[in-house]
């Protein structure tokens, strides 16, 4: 078990290192001089040269990589060209929105998808299964910004239960913050839940054809007892895989929903940084996301081992 964990950890660290090389290299070859961009069109060549020097852009590549990576390791992501504040502060501000949003969406998605998957798998081939699967198909197909607008119309404009957009910040207490996040979380969760429900259903159905399911039935267990006690845990591996991928997406791939709800999240920050060629912010964000995804994968690997004892054994 320990060696399994260490192996995963080592793989994660190597991935992180390679990713940092790639991120650094790609942004190095992107056309456009950051110093020129920051100073604007009318800047003199002298001023640009001075800024380049100040930003360390004239140093050799290897040295620049080492100092960049070294600073990042101690949590110093540099200073944004456009905002003029430390990148760390920018990111921290945005994560306070994006992380709770992603977690809420993921929990919502699981809370809906796993029971739906179980329901459908238990009634596979019957009309109720077909109907539920039809709905999930719709859930995958509906664009989430459209669903978001619908939610805004119903719950914010008509029923006036929650605000239509914006984020009050956590300083005002958790109540208003959660209220601001609930609609975006629902909009994000819908397609994820639809996909997850389909994966759960098909994983369960595959598991239900295994020999040990027949053994359990021969013990006298009812169909539903077999489903919950024997099939569900064995079907968790593909479900966990999808969950890991979804979490990574929910953290930063939510720019459209953030725009619909005027949320100051990571997705919008990524977008703004790219359009403004704020390379330091882009680098910092990309590295943060890479690290998050590696961490999520590590957690997923650990969950695999928790589910399946065969992965825990020495061999």
């Amino acid at each position: 078990m320990l060696s399994y964990l260490l192996k995963r950890l080592a793989i994660g660290l190597v991935t992180l290192f390679v990713a940092s090389l790639v991120v650094f290299a790609v942004l190095e070859v992107v056309p456009g001089d950051p110093a020129r961009l920051m100073l604007g069109m009318g800047a003199s060549e002298d001023a640009i040269a001075a800024l380049r020097d100040q930003m360390g852009l004239n140093q050799p590549l290897a040295l620049r990589y080492l100092s960049w990576a070294g600073h990042m390791l101690i949590g110093d992501f540099g200073r944004s060209y456009t905002y003029g504040v430390p990148v760390r502060e920018l990111i921290a501000e945005r994560i306070a929105v994006s992380l709770p949003l992603a977690v809420m969406a993921l929990l919502l998605s699981m809370a809906v998808a796993i029971p739906v998957g179980l329901f459908s798998a238990a009634r596979r081939g019957r009309a109720s299964d077909m109907a539920v699967m039809g709905v999930t198909q719709l859930g995958v197909a509906i664009p989430n910004f459209w669903f978001a607008l619908l939610l805004v119309y119903v719950f914010a404009v008509t029923l006036r239960l929650v605000p239509a957009g914006g984020f009050p910040g956590w300083s005002a207490g958790p109540g208003p913050a959660f209220q601001a996040l609930i609609l975006p979380a629902l909009a994000l969760a819908l397609p994820q839940a639809a996909i997850l429900a389909r994966v759960t259903r098909s994983a369960l159905i595959e598991t239900l054809s295994e020999d040990y399911i027949r053994t359990a039935r021969a013990k006298g267990l009812t169909r539903s007892a077999v489903l919950y006690r024997h099939a569900l845990r064995n079907a968790m591996i593909p479900v966990l895989t999808i969950l890991g991928l979804q979490f990574a997406f929910l953290l930063a791939g939510t720019i459209i929903i953030e725009n619909v709800f005027y949320l100051p999240g990571l997705g919008r920050l990524v977008f703004q940084a790219i359009t403004q060629r704020d390379l330091i912010v882009v680098e910092g964000l990309v590295m943060l996301l890479v690290a998050t995804i590696i961490l999520v994968n590590l957690v997923v690997d650990l969950l695999y081992a928790a589910v399946d004892p065969r992965l825990r054994s020495p061999r």
Binding site: L2, S3, L6, G125, E210, D211, Y212, R214, T215, A216, R217, A218, K219, G220, L221, T222, R223, A225, R229, H230, R233, N234, V307, D308, P309, R310, S313, P314, R315
Partner: protein, 540 residues
């Protein structure tokens, strides 16, 4: 009153009839065998008794368990019966247990489900049951997972689950088919004693007449969903009334006509000297040294041209590892292998390997798994031709394929078919055609008939004998089935724990085994002829 009475049981799936008017009676304390070839409806009968038939199956007729008709029982009534009144043991122990639950949980689960016992009580009973099936607490605590157990041990767990509540009826569907003969004998003994102890009725489903003759009081023979003959086992098997039963018993006893072996001369075809193969062991703990395991340990033997040798032993004795090295699919840790006088264990390059491979081919156990389902027979059979020094033209290729197909008893027209269009026996013929197309001198056959029905198996054994005579092939049969060894090989090598413990003429070794391992193998292998004559003598 009989324990189990099946009357006019019919099962169909859609328009396909699976069982037609099956009748059968089983008494308490008795073993009743249900015998037939694959597709005869044996397993379907068992599943019908449990009402676990596949989706869409329709069932008719009466099934009375201790007088009560259960054919019309509701699902909830059946849930009360399954596991409590009727237990079932399955064919494939490797997949019959839930991999994410401990053996204790799995045995205790049925006990708790039916009796409402507390976890502690159920675990206590599960412990006692596991002890009873030969899994003592010191080595098999309740928190073991299935993957930590071998196939035979897993089958014991499945039996413990099935017998935990002392059901009146136990159904065992090919319970030992996936196990080697030694384990088979142990599991059959266990079943026999459990039946006697608890006065259960055992419905034993099998295709193996030797097992059945040894175990069963009565027998029912099924063919294509219908009962062809039933009665007292020894009577039915020694004096079959129905022509199908007669063919079936004859096929089980079949010995092919082997050509007399030619006197060996000159250099041996294959010579294996002091061969050892070690595998790096797994580390028990993170920083402990791994101890390598020796799969093959200092093995030496020789094989003459045209000679047939059977390599026998239990599963895990190293026979397959040895065969892989002979075929240059694996490199030995030490020792040497010569084919036609030339070293093949350390061939310098791919070209030398290609040359050597022309002379040796393999036939696998599973005719289903060894073919790409998307390729035509011609492509599959012609596969080894790339080993030849000169690539044949498409026309030559078709000719060669046609020739070997005829040689193995298929038609040249079969060349354009896909694997799924062949039956199991035909597919094994296809595999043999693929093995002989390069004109090899040595063919290694790994359990070549153990996945086949008896009648097909008899014909495939004939084919092996025929090819030996016509092509002068040398065969290395890898098997745990002594009947195959007896039928096919003049020479037998017995392996145990990686070593050769005994070798010699097949008849000598099998009639008078010297080593402990060989004696155990012989003792555990059921021999239909011997069992029948013994039982007839008992009955006078």
């Amino acid at each position: 009153m009989a324990l189990l009475e099946i009357e006019r049981l019919s099962v169909s799936i859609g328009a396909t009839s699976i069982l037609r008017d099956v009748d059968m009676t089983l008494d308490r304390g008795m073993v009743h065998a249900l015998v037939g070839e694959s597709g005869s409806g044996k397993t379907m009968t068992a599943l019908a008794l449990m009402q676990l038939l596949p989706h869409g199956a329709a069932m008719n007729g009466h099934i009375r368990l201790a007088g009560k008709d259960i054919a019309t029982a509701s699902e909830s009534e059946m849930c009360r019966l399954r596991g409590a009144e009727i237990g079932m043991v399955f064919q494939e122990p490797m997949t019959a247990l839930n991999p994410v639950k401990t053996i204790g949980e799995q045995v205790a689960e049925g006990i708790r489900w039916h009796t409402g016992a507390s976890r502690a009580e159920a675990e206590e009973q599960a412990r006692a049951m596991l002890d009873r099936v030969g899994l003592p607490p010191a080595r098999f605590p309740l928190d073991r997972y299935p993957h930590q157990l071998s196939g035979g041990q897993r089958q014991r767990v499945v039996i413990a689950i099935a017998c935990a509540l002392k059901p009146r009826l136990l159904i065992a569907d090919e319970p030992t088919t996936a196990l080697d003969v030694i384990l088979q004998a142990q599991i059959l003994d266990l079943l026999k004693s459990l039946v006697a102890e608890n006065d259960m009725g055992l419905l034993l489903i099998s295709h193996d007449l030797a097992v059945v003759a040894d175990m069963a009081d009565r027998i029912t023979i099924l063919r294509r969903g219908e009962v062809v003959e039933s009665g007292e086992t020894v009577r039915v098997l020694s004096a079959p009334a129905d022509p199908y039963t007669r063919r079936f018993t004859q096929a089980s006893l079949h010995m092919p006509d082997r050509p007399a072996p030619k006197a060996a001369s000159g250099t041996p075809l294959l010579s294996v000297g002091n061969l050892t193969r070690e595998y790096p062991g797994s580390r028990i703990e993170l920083f402990s040294r791994a101890v390598p395991t020796r799969a093959v340990d200092n093995v030496s033997f020789e094989m003459a041209e045209g000679q047939s040798i059977a390599l026998v032993g239990r599963s895990g004795c190293g026979k397959s590892t040895l065969a892989r090295m002979v075929l240059a699919l694996d490199r030995p840790t030490s020792g040497e292998i010569r084919l036609d006088g030339q070293r093949i264990d350390n061939l310098p390059d791919d070209d030398a390997l290609r040359q050597a491979r022309q002379k040796m081919q393999i036939v696998f156990q599973d005719p289903y798994g060894s073919f790409d389902p998307r390729q035509k027979a011609e492509t599959l059979v012609a596969e080894p031709l790339h080993l030849l020094d000169r690539k044949p033209t498409p026309v030559e290729r078709r000719e060669r394929v046609a020739t070997v197909l005829e040689r193995v008893g298929l038609s040249p027209d079969d060349m354009d078919k896909y694997p799924h269009q062949f039956s199991g026996g035909q597919r094994q013929r296809l595999a043999i055609a693929r093995a002989i197309i390069t004109g090899p001198k040595l063919v290694v056959a790994d359990e070549p008939v153990s996945a086949l029905d008896v009648s097909i198996r008899a014909r495939i054994l004939d084919l092996f004998a025929d090819l030996t005579g016509k092509l002068g092939l040398a065969w290395l049969f890898i098997t745990h089935d002594l009947n195959v060894a007896r039928a096919m090989a003049e020479h037998v090598i017995v392996m145990d724990e990686g070593r050769i413990v005994e070798q010699g003429r097949t008849d000598d070794v099998l009639q008078n085994p010297q080593s402990e391992a060989a004696r155990a193998l012989v003792a555990a292998s059921p021999d239909l002829r011997l069992i029948l004559s013994g039982k007839l003598r008992e009955q006078g």
